[in-house]
Symmetry: C2
Subunit: 199 residues, 2 copies
């Protein structure tokens, strides 16, 4: 027998399914919901179902959007000749937050990973090549994650894009700003040395 009335037990169970939310936190959240006024509870519940219903992938770049083409692809202020290739829609947000990049994005929705059975045809590489062929692209910046899958994907894409005569770059790997040389792992340090620039 559960110690809670059925609707509360169900809510705790649902909260527990979310990442990083254990049983105690789920209980705390559930009781918080019970303490909230009905109107705020409905707002939360609506936000959850609407976020899923109203969000789709931009038909151009694959970013998350609530319209057919995302606000970045639609913007006239963006430089449409530069495409930054990322693995995930979250990475678009990370890039946008630095407020430095003014080009467009291409979201791959994954990275090549033979271990997990994800090949080049499973991620949006075809779509990227189509965009490059159709548009007037001057540079493709590959900003996949600096791990084995991300590097493999970056290599694969560069081998396809470079022959088209388009500048293909990879974001720099090195010591993070504020990081400590002493604690940097060897691969990162080696990459930092390799990528050194004249000052």
């Amino acid at each position: 027998m559960s110690f809670y009335a059925a609707p509360i037990a169900r809510l705790i169970e649902e909260f527990e399914k979310l990442p990083g939310i254990g049983h105690k936190t789920a209980q705390r959240l559930a009781f918080h919901v019970l303490d909230m006024p009905q109107e705020k509870v409905d707002k939360l519940a609506n936000a959850i179902s609407e976020a899923k219903q109203k969000t789709k992938f931009c038909s151009v770049c694959g970013n998350l959007t609530d319209s057919d083409v995302c606000s970045l692809c639609n913007s006239e202020k963006r430089d449409s000749s530069v495409i930054c290739v990322v693995e995930d829609a979250r990475d678009v947000v990370a890039m946008e937050k630095i407020r430095e990049f003014k080009g467009l994005y291409h979201v791959l929705h994954g990275a090549i990973s033979p271990m997990q059975g994800i090949g080049p045809e499973d991620i949006k590489i075809k779509e990227l090549l189509a965009r490059i062929r159709d548009g007037n692209i001057s540079e493709v910046i590959i900003a996949t994650n600096p791990n084995i899958e991300g590097e493999a994907t970056a290599m694969y894409i560069s081998k396809l894009v470079k022959p088209l005569g388009i500048k293909t770059t990879r974001i720099a790997h090195g010591i993070p700003v504020g990081g400590d040389l002493e604690y940097a792992d060897e691969v990162t340090l080696a990459k930092a040395l390799e990528g050194r620039r004249e000052i």
Copy 2:
């Protein structure tokens, strides 16, 4: 300008309002929701609004329930001559988990706190006295929290209940099991000494 499409930004905002959920966690939860199948998202959203809609307070003891009288008050296996007085419905769950107590509960929905302007008439003490007068009660166990408000409430209730000729007890304060004498605060240690029992 938000970096997220409107429905996502709204969801992140709603998640951030929950206790213990910061901006980063709210983002992670929101993206998790977007990755979930629609049917599971709806289940979560429904659980949230239904928990609030369908839950009410038991008309007898004030515990959270989805029926008029809670399953504890309704149960024929419980000893209706003993009432355990707690501050909150969460405390009922904590007590039930030990599987030792077989009586009924009375939820006060708060504790007397002059600092916060909560007087005896603001919590369900009247209802407790009515239950005691109507029923055949042999013992009232006061299990309010061991802080100033809880102690004041316990004292107040015992002064009202004792003159009715009913055994009134307070749960023991002392060193928690598995605790360390060295690190116990003085008040707890003093209470533990005061409450010593012959072995």
